[in-house]
């Protein structure tokens, strides 16, 4: 089925300067943020409009060429890793903000717009809450495909709670609108938009995206508390939530993560602390003030060795700088590191941390922990030295054992980075064969030929059969000439 890439046709759609076929230039697209994987595609195209995307996808469909949509390439699961012999559709030129409708608290954007540009476009009165740490670079199309989260998601929800409609080019090259056609909620019919968000580029290309935005909070209060152990910090989080307080953000870092971020940012966190907890309340002045004392009391009651309250916007920015730099900061304490992403029910935190620590000892590798504590989303960072023979493989295996612990504790393989290629082999740990086959039904409805980002999410390649139509007797059978066995 698979044919050669229709370069001539792609050139006639996008023009020669926006079709890349030269090997050296194509290497720009060989990996996403997970550099372990690299595949050089046959071609990359940079369409400028939804019509061009549709024409490119239609050409691929006609010629049986697989394709991969790509936003900013910051994904951490190999989601936009190219397919060999396939086409990369880069959305980086489609960066227009098409409509800002503050009256209705909506914004319509093209997929290549960055996450941070959206809040900027509706500020300062409003903001777009899902805020991945990569927000300055990552695209909203990538956020939609990954259902990205961020530090504010416990209170405000994830990408899926804020997208209200998407224009999508389907794998057959046709264009449709999923969800609200003009930004409205509850369009009658199946919630195909809900299924599309988080589908990791396997169901189509989002070419226009309607988002809801919300009023910016009037006040923000940020506090960092230090503890001897992450378990104590975790207990504070549980106490806060049980008391009905819903902070805008709650983040925990362990001792190793503090050491790395101090080396990188000099935020002033004590190196002897076993863990730190950032709690940020936001909302109306009166509500923040009332709740802030309560939060500080919970910290003290759980053995906080110190509490630091951000006295100025600068101090608040410094606190967040340390947290948001956590991944990159690992480079200060280790030649290489692997970012893991798993979820546990919050109450299982002590057990999960103990098991991760034991695994680290077993593998002889250090693991730093950073987590979105409100929703139990752990980011264990496995530190290793690729120059040491076998260590990279050991690190990868350890990271795999860690997500298995998460699943075992009743959690998930991934809270925000997606399955991509990196975690597809673990899918059978979380889902049965019947579950996976049911996922595949959705994919087959959208993409029966399997041209959209093949090789991702599902642990093994799967084909789509024909839809079994209602049973009809064959004329020969009816005539009694043949029997069906």
């Amino acid at each position: 089925m698979r044919g050669p890439v229709p370069i001539g046709e792609l050139v006639s759609i996008c023009g020669p300067e926006r079709v890349i076929t030269e090997h050296a230039a194509l290497r720009t697209y060989e990996s996403d943020g997970l550099l372990q994987y690299a595949v050089v595609p046959a071609a990359a195209v940079l369409p400028d409009s939804a019509d061009e995307v549709a024409a490119v996808v239609a050409a691929c469909h006609r010629t049986g060429v697989p394709w991969v949509a790509r936003g900013s390439g910051t994904g951490l699961s190999g989601g936009s890793l190219p397919v060999e012999g396939g086409v990369v559709i880069s959305l980086s030129r489609m960066r227009r903000i098409l409509e800002v409708d503050l009256d209705n608290q909506r914004i319509l954007v093209e997929p290549g717009v960055t996450n941070a540009q959206i809040s900027a476009a509706v500020g300062p009165t409003h903001f777009y809450p899902p805020d991945p740490s990569s927000q300055v670079i990552c695209s909203i199309g990538g956020n939609v495909a990954e259902n990205s989260g961020g530090v504010h998601c416990f209170k405000y929800g994830f990408t899926t709670n804020w997208v209200v409609g998407c224009e999508v080019v389907l794998p057959d090259g046709s264009t449709t609108v999923l969800g609200g056609a003009f930004g409205e909620l509850d369009r009658p019919g199946y919630d195909l938009l809900g299924a599309f968000v988080g589908s990791e580029g396997t169901l189509g290309v989002a070419t226009k995206i309607w988002l809801r935005v919300t009023p910016a909070p009037e006040a923000t209060r940020t506090v960092v508390a230090y503890f001897n152990t992450p378990e104590e910090a975790g207990q504070v989080v549980s106490d806060i939530v049980s008391a009905g307080v819903v902070p805008g953000a709650m983040e925990i870092m362990d001792k190793l993560a503090i050491a790395a971020t101090e080396a990188a940012t000099h935020a002033g966190n004590p190196l002897d602390a076993g863990a730190l907890l950032i709690v940020e309340l936001d909302g109306s002045e009166s509500e923040c003030d009332a709740r802030f004392d309560e939060v500080v009391r919970f910290c003290e009651a759980n053995g906080a060795t110190g509490v630091r309250i951000a006295a100025s916007e600068d101090e608040r920015a410094l606190i967040w700088k340390a947290r948001k730099a956590a991944f990159a900061a690992m480079g200060r304490i280790s030649p290489n590191f692997y970012v893991q992403d798993g979820v546990i029910p919050r109450t299982r935190l002590p057990q999960a941390l103990r098991r991760i620590e034991d695994l680290g000892v077993e593998y002889g590798l250090r693991v730093a922990n950073v987590f979105h504590a409100g929703d139990g989303n752990l980011h264990p960072l496995v530190l290793f030295d690729a120059a040491v023979a076998g260590e990279a493989e050991r690190a990868e295996e350890l990271a795999g054992r860690i997500v298995e612990v998460c699943v075992d504790e009743g959690g998930s393989l991934t809270g925000e980075h997606g399955i991509g290629v990196d975690k597809k082999r673990y899918m059978p740990k979380m889902f049965s064969e019947a579950d996976l086959a049911t996922f595949q039904r959705l994919r087959c409805a959208f993409d029966p030929e399997g041209m959209a980002n093949p090789g991702k999410v599902m642990p093994t390649p799967r084909l789509c059969g024909e839809v079994p139509g209602p049973y009809r007797q064959h004329p020969l059978e009816a005539a009694g000439l043949i029997d069906r066995l």
Binding site: D103, N104, Q105, E146, G149, C153, G157, T160, N161, T176, L178, G180, A181, F182, G183, E184, L185, D186, P188, G189, Y190, D191, L192, G194, A195, G198, V241, S242, G244, G283, S284, S286, E287, A290, V343, I344, P345, T347, D375, G376, G410, G411, S412, L413, G415, H417, I419, M430, F431, S432, A434, D435, L436, T438, R441, L442, A445, V467, P468, P470
Partner: protein, 445 residues
């Protein structure tokens, strides 16, 4: 029609597979409170009731999640959560057909609504403003497909992106893709106290401005609703007549914002001050700290003899109010979201001009009205629904409650809005035998 009550997912799978093998249509039944919705379809051969799938499997209070079998009545689940100071933030419409003003009868009428039925219809109430709807609160599902497959999607944690989010696909699918056997939901703390700010006016533009101001203020209301009634309260009991009557020159309405926390009053007072700056003497504003009744009334007004749900943007609220006024109807809206429910007064034998808003036990007159099927001119009502659709285009207008004779005259879904071709393909993949409530859904799916 045969009715079965499977006691396990495997038994449900066996029954469904049997029906699919013979091509016999199946309908799922929870509490049976909304079976009439959707397109009218012939009575199916088999009804699968979820009555025996009625266990609360887990309530993980520390994690604010719960695992429920589909047949658990929402009221039962809520009682369990309340004992831990928690709630499932779903408050779908109340049935107005209990005893007028009699809370226990009202509760009994709604006690039947099951979590499976509520997820399958994806309906929502005033809490949607802050907490989202069904799609936002369901974090995992177990479904049974017509070929006997039992499959799970999602998980038991509030954050999870592994695999496709089939919970959203099945939410609002009206049982046309398969049986929802089990759902995992996210819970929230039950607010310690609530206070509601109410601003009344007979000027729709003023109400819309008030609602917009509240929607843009950083006050984090739990709910932000609006109501509008074409007939002034005095007319309500005396008006008689049959079929539709146009509204008088002006009706009346209110904006309601509910604040919840340990101390909701500072925000309620800020909201009051904000509203006083917008309105003048003709928009009185007050704070109600015993506010359950006014929110129950909002929910109740989402159901009636004839109800049309309008999916619009918030800025279209004045147009929706004007349409309700012209047709002599009543409207409730989630003002911050743009969703509105318009009731058309059809069985006007004892009034029926509105939800019986009047601050009072709201349902007076309704039970009587309902008992008069002969008083209905279905053609006139169907035309009124189409008139609403014309006025509010392109906003989708779905006919929810309506007598069968009205339903038969028009497409309750309002035609093939949206990607119906793709929806058909989804249906074919999940229910290849085409036996799950065929014909009920959008586009005759």
């Amino acid at each position: 029609m045969k009715s079965e009550e499977p006691a396990s997912y495997e038994e449900a799978a066996e029954l469904l597979r049997g029906a699919a093998a013979d091509g016999r249509p199946v309908r799922f039944r929870g509490g049976g409170t909304k079976l009439g919705w959707g397109r009218p379809i012939p009575e199916p051969d088999l009804e699968l009731c979820t009555g025996a799938l009625d266990r609360v499997l887990e309530h993980n209070a520390g994690d604010f999640t719960a695992v429920l079998q589909a047949g658990v009545p929402l009221a039962v689940a809520q009682a369990a959560f309340a004992s831990a100071g928690q709630m499932l933030a779903l408050d779908p419409p109340l049935s107005p057909w209990g005893g007028a003003g009699d809370d226990t009868a009202l509760d009994a009428a709604d006690a039947g609504a099951t979590i499976g039925g509520i997820v399958a219809t994806a309906d929502s109430g005033p809490l949607r403003h802050k907490y989202g709807g069904v799609r936002d609160l369901v974090v995992g599902v177990t479904v049974v497909l017509s070929d006997g497959t039992i499959a799970r999607a999602g998980g038991k944690v509030i954050k999870n992106v592994a695999g496709y989010d089939l919970g959203k696909l099945f939410a609002g699918a009206f049982g046309t893709l398969g049986l929802i056997a089990e759902v995992t939901v996210r819970l929230h703390p039950r607010p310690a106290r609530t206070a509601t700010v109410v601003a009344r006016s007979s000027d729709p533009a003023q109400l819309a401005a008030a609602a917009a101001a509240l929607a843009h203020a950083p006050l984090e209301a739990d709910s932000l609703d609006l109501w509008w009634d074409a007939f002034p309260v005095e007319d309500f009991q005396t008006e008689t007549g049959v079929g539709l009557r146009p509204g008088p020159a002006s009706g009346s309405g209110a904006v309601l914002a509910r604040f919840a926390s340990a101390d909701p009053f500072p925000r309620a007072e800020e909201a009051t001050a904000l509203l006083r700056r917008i309105g003048d003497a003709d928009m009185p504003v007050e704070i109600d700290d015993d506010d359950q009744a006014c929110w129950d009334a909002q929910r109740t007004a989402q159901r009636s003899d004839v109800v049309v749900k309008v999916s619009a943007l918030p800025a279209a609220l004045p147009a929706s109010m004007a349409a309700a006024q012209a047709l002599g109807g009543t409207l409730v809206a989630r003002a911050g979201l743009g969703l509105a429910w318009i009731q058309l007064p059809v069985c006007a034998s004892t009034g029926g001009g509105g939800a019986g808003r009047a601050d009072a036990p709201a349902q007076a007159g309704r039970t009587d009205a309902r008992g008069e099927p002969g008083a209905l001119d279905a053609a006139v009502v169907a035309e009124a629904v189409e008139e609403l659709r014309r006025r509010l285009a392109p906003a989708p207008c779905v006919l929810l409650d309506a007598p069968a004779e009205v339903r038969a005259r028009l497409d309750p879904w309002g035609g093939e809005t949206g990607p119906v071709t793709l929806m058909r393909k989804v249906k074919e993949r999940f229910d290849p035998a085409g036996v799950c409530a065929p014909g009920l859904f959008v586009g005759g799916i």
